[in-house]
Symmetry: C2
DNA sequence: CGGGTGGTTGAGCTTTCTCAAATAGAGTGG
DNA sequence: CCACTCTATTTGAGAAAGCTCAACCACCCG
């Protein structure tokens, strides 16, 4: 059940079998969540963190006018709110973009886990720092990349992250994001996302139909995205 | 020397005198850094974290075309690269925007400190999560706020963060950011920042001259920024 | 077959950008 | 104290990217 999570951790560091065992014992039973359900509300007092088993979650914030900005997408193996362990409440919501399976880990368990295994503490600290690195890359996207590059970059990131947890096949992956979802990730309007996706298709960089993205030209997509995966810290080393 | 740092920590949690002592013993001698100097280069192997004593630092990333995006500003009391403790290298640069004084803390010391004081571990973990929360707010700014709101928001954030470390006086603070620096924070061009600042001045929300910002109408500035300080976690509680 | 959601298109508009030049200010050497 | 230089700010005019609004289409599912 937490295999994707272990894959993600082991992509960046060694996890001993003792640590693995301790993690497994900390994770609660899986529960299902329908699409569009808000799992975490801004401001709520939190005592658990949420591990995504299956499906896609997002973190989002919005302005008074209702304009929404997604700040991160979550794929299986991610904690959606590990940061709530120290923040205690969050300043953003967490919502299911598809039907999901999630499992809760009580902060109490995380406290024991991190005190008993200082190395795991650093692994999980690393994990929240990785989220922050993705935030910075998105900041760069929104601040400086044109529409085409923003969307291309989002697809590159998703591809690499899904590959780590074995959710890609032949340069393609399931992607239940609507064009409106994408627009909320990249800070554009749905209409402009639509036209930009057409451009990506027309230049034969991707296909995107029936909820599946196929990357036709990875080098080309990377180029228009100026995608450099260094920010995903894809190297196994002792943290 | 690390008073600002302790103020920042104690704004969000209690720090015992024993912990304070341990922190003090971990911090190296202060060194000065000239403006525009790059302290940390993307990709470099890091074994220290950098505590800002005085001046202003920024984290930035850039695209091939040279377009630069600042992802965070640092004020006295901040660690500029505490996240390097677990990341080991960074995917962005850290640069001095003004002449600065900084002090280094070896990762070895941080390891001892966090293993000896699990509470301090969580305090510093919190601190990197706070950086991430600021990143998310900037993502919202760049994705959804218009130029006026973005700049207003930046000034609100700076004001609150500087107030915590006693660097404001009568609704004003020293601000050595050039309009180009600001444009690199908010994802606009310097020209547009210039016109937008004029608008903020004309509406009597701020003054900004001779490197000093004065907030004339805090409520009004907050309103156009849609500034809600919840993302700065300004509450003291046990982490 | 009907309703709903999500994708597509067109036309006109707004915000922000680009480029180029002028102005102001701070610091330096004579 | 005065030129001189360098950097930062300001202004103008035209262009481009992305937005708005409104309608239409396609597919899915019951």
């Amino acid at each position: 059940m937490i295999d994707a999570h272990l894959k993600k951790l082991r992509k960046r560091d060694d996890i001993s079998s003792e640590e693995e065992q301790a993690i497994r014992e900390s994770v609660g039973a899986a529960q299902t969540v329908p699409a569009d359900h808000i799992l975490i509300r801004r401001g709520a007092e939190l005592t658990n963190s949420t591990l995504l088993i299956d499906g896609m979650l997002c973190r989002f914030k919005d302005l008074r006018g209702g304009q929404r900005q997604i700040t991160e997408l979550h794929v299986p193996g991610d904690f959606a709110d590990l940061h709530s362990f120290t923040l205690k409440r969050l300043e953003h919501d967490v919502m299911a973009l598809t039907p999901c399976r999630v499992a809760l880990v009580p902060h109490e368990r995380l406290k024991e886990l991190t005190e008993r295994f200082p190395h795991l503490m650093r692994v999980y600290w690393f994990s929240t720092n990785l989220d922050a690195a993705m935030h910075r890359e998105w900041t760069l996207s929104l601040g400086r990349r044109p529409a085409l590059g923003r969307i291309a970059h989002l697809l590159c990131e998703l591809y690499v992250r899904l590959e780590i947890v074995d959710l890609t096949r032949d340069w393609s992956f399931d992607c239940h994001l609507t064009q409106t979802d994408i627009s909320e990730c990249v800070g554009l309007t749905p209409v402009h996302v639509n036209r930009t996706l057409q451009e990506l298709r027309k230049s034969r960089l991707i296909e995107f139909e029936r909820r599946r993205v196929t990357i036709l030209d990875w080098k080309g997509l990377q180029r228009v995205a100026e995608f450099n995966p260094e920010y995903l810290y894809l190297e196994r080393r002792s943290r």
